[in-house]
């Protein structure tokens, strides 16, 4: 649910990057942080282990600017992808407005992609949310791997109905990073405009 702060005249959206471990969720946020001008972003916070695996979450606040006198703000989060951090993933999903699911193109991670998507659906249910009703897009990351699976194969596994927007990416090179964020933001705006 989007939140509004009447006194500060702000509309706030929470976008969560979800996906299996090592799929590139943190890399997405780091690259966005590098790209966004200094006056439009806050500090990036990472709660990570010593070997730089996400322990709780990464967080990046972004100010989009003002429309109709209201400042629009995004809080971008990643979740820890490793299977045993599910409690943390559930907590981060509280109040989510949109999801970018970051899938891994490696053949060895196809099952992990599917399991992570199923885990996302289950965790959303804890908040009485249905993935079908939440703005969400899928980024297929690491498409530059020599043995990367064809994007079509991953699409067939993750969204066989073809009703979800997909974006191929090499997040490490900032390829395909802004497009899914832009797309999920658009979906969030559309949903708000419909419900307002």
């Amino acid at each position: 649910m989007s939140t509004i702060n009447f006194s500060a005249r702000e509309i706030n959206f929470k976008i969560v990057y979800y996906g299996p471990g090592m799929s590139g969720k943190t890399t997405n946020l780091k690259k966005i942080y590098e790209q966004v001008p200094a006056d439009a972003k806050g500090e990036m916070v990472s709660l990570a282990t010593e070997d730089e695996r996400t322990l709780f979450f990464d967080f990046l606040p972004i100010d989009l600017g003002k429309v109709n006198g209201f400042k629009t703000r995004f809080h971008l989060y990643t979740v820890p992808g490793q299977v045993f951090y599910n409690s943390s993933r559930k907590l981060i999903l509280r109040g989510v407005d949109g999801v970018v699911f970051v899938a891994d193109s490696s053949p060895k991670r196809l099952r992990a992609n599917a399991e992570s998507l199923r885990n996302l659906r289950e965790n959303l249910q804890e908040y009485n949310l249905n993935l079908g009703e939440i703005p969400y897009v899928i980024q297929i990351n690491k498409t530059d791997l020599p043995d990367a699976l064809p994007a079509e194969m991953i699409k067939q596994v993750l969204a066989p109905k073809g009703d979800i927007q997909f974006f191929e990416a090499v997040a490490q090179e900032f390829k395909g990073v802004r497009e899914p964020l832009r797309a999920v933001s658009q979906l969030v705006f559309e949903k708000l405009a419909q419900k307002a």
Binding site: T3, I11, L91, A193, K195
Partner: protein, 166 residues
């Protein structure tokens, strides 16, 4: 859907600003914030003598997440939750207390303030805020998030990230 985490606007917000100011002066705290459980800052005050605070966004996000984690821990033990949170370092302490179902009152203090005093005045402030919100009869400001708003917002997105077209 667009909902405020707390019904803070108009006269109620003005009253709450006064309450936060009084909390700071009574407890000798550095900062007082109202944050929602999603980690957004709803209101904040700073003592005149206090140094510039760290990033409020980071602070709010970390405290809200910490609160959520503590709630989950409490539930492991069959509790409904912990009603308050205290962290105390060598110099700085943070006290957070539930404010309604979706928000927290956070008081940040240093060694010049006693924890007991911070707790006492924080609880009093929560009561005052709840009372002010309960007595509010003012209608929510009217907002228009129509297609024009959507188009303008998307234009801002393009300005920030580009259109993605090569």
């Amino acid at each position: 859907m667009l909902e405020p985490s707390l019904e803070l606007y108009g006269e109620t917000f003005d009253k709450v600003e006064v309450f936060l100011d009084e909390l700071i002066s009574s407890s000798h705290a550095r900062y007082a914030l109202i944050i929602d459980l999603k980690g957004f800052v709803l209101a904040h005050h700073r003592a005149l003598w206090a140094p510039k605070p760290p990033s409020l966004d980071s602070m709010a996000t970390l405290i809200a997440s910490n609160y959520s984690a503590n709630m989950a821990i409490a539930k492991l033990f069959g509790e409904n939750g912990f009603k308050e949170m205290v962290q105390k370092g060598d110099e700085i302490g943070v006290y957070a207390q539930e404010l309604g179902a979706q928000a927290l009152l956070v008081t940040v203090f240093d060694n010049s303030a006693a924890l007991g005093r911070v707790k006492l005045f924080s609880k009093k402030t929560v009561d005052l805020i709840n009372q002010a919100i309960g007595e509010n009869t003012e209608a929510r400001p009217n907002l228009d998030f129509d297609d024009n708003w959507q188009v303008s917002s998307e234009a801002l997105l393009d300005g920030l990230f580009g259109t993605g077209k090569q």
